[in-house]
């Protein structure tokens, strides 16, 4: 298998089509606009040729996650706990309030907190879905409750863990 594959950013693609001329396998010529990953051999020709800078080469294998300091993780965890509470409280208001204005405000708060939380986790040692920490997390979820075992096992199979 090749080490990387080409990805086309459809927001940037100006349909200048040089990629169609240079691709040795026809992988760039598709109806959906995205590159045919099964055909792509990762040669990088399209990415070099594209005048719009719309194609990037994405690796199949990622380097190990950068280690994080325990104390930093601990301090971020305090913020995480608080933001989760805020999000869940907002969700409670969304479900239980009869006031449309309140519900809307709660919806905004819930959304914003979720985005903050996702970012906090990225900086708490869970940047990379292929990391050892993610793998351990998934394995522990398996033990927690069996409802989602199928989903979790699929993830464990699909993700190309690197550590």
């Amino acid at each position: 298998m090749s080490k990387e594959r080409a990805i086309r950013n459809l927001r940037l693609c100006s349909k200048d089509c040089l990629c169609l001329f240079v691709c040795p396998t026809g992988a760039t010529d598709t109806e959906t606009g995205q590159i045919d990953f099964d055909k792509c051999i990762g040669c990088g020709a399209c990415s070099k040729a594209c005048p719009a800078g719309a194609i990037s080469m994405v690796p199949y294998e990622y380097p190990k996650e950068q280690p994080k300091d325990d104390e930093v993780i601990e301090k971020l965890k305090f913020i995480i706990e608080s933001k989760v509470d805020q999000e869940q409280l907002a969700n409670y208001i969304i479900k239980n309030s009869n006031n449309e204005g309140e519900k809307f405000l709660a919806k905004i708060i819930s959304k914003a907190n979720r985005l903050i939380l996702e970012d906090l986790y990225r900086e708490s040692g869970y940047m990379l879905p292929q990391s050892k920490k993610t793998k351990e997390f998934l394995n522990q979820l398996l033990e927690k409750d069996t409802t989602n075992n199928e989903v979790i096992n699929k993830l464990l199979n699909l993700l190309n863990f690197n550590d």
């Binding site: 913020i79 986790y121 699929k154």
Partner: protein, 200 residues
Amino acid sequence: MKKYKCPICGYIYDEEKEGIKFEDLPDDWKCPLCGAPKNIFKAEAIEIEINEENDKNLREMNLGEISALCSSLARGCEKQYLDEEAKLFMTLANYYNNKAQEQGDFSTIIEKINKDLNSNYKKASEIASEKKDRGALRVIGWGEKVTMILKSLIDNGIPTDKKVYVCDVCGFVYVGDEKPEICPVCKVPNFKLLEVKRGA
């Protein structure tokens, strides 16, 4: 830096905290808890230690936290164009989000926001500066600003005749009809500021 675990009583010698490498301790050093001699401490303890910590982490993670971590990983997959993996993580995120329960009102939220602004962010920022963790400093800086905006929205309410946009990167909320060119908090171009509609 390593951690060493006493095989007798479980005491952990943490090189980082102690500031002295375990190797450099005198030979007659003894476990401060149980008095076990130095030579029976094992370095393999690091591995065990990490696993234990992770176990503890999950045991302490509530359902809302599990949900948020799953949706964060879903985004990571999305960025790598791993669509199927992203969907699977979102399935988990939604499952755990629906199971999470917490009761209260806006005043409870404000209490927590005040604690974030007065203490949590400050402490985190101190440690992140000390450890020179720029990624952590970034997330702290953005999060603090967005938290202040949320506080002011709760305090002042959202005018019913204005549109509302949320930055899909940092969570910044913009109230008004004309979006700014870039997100003032994270600087992403404004196509990532997504309108949130009123009603279901």
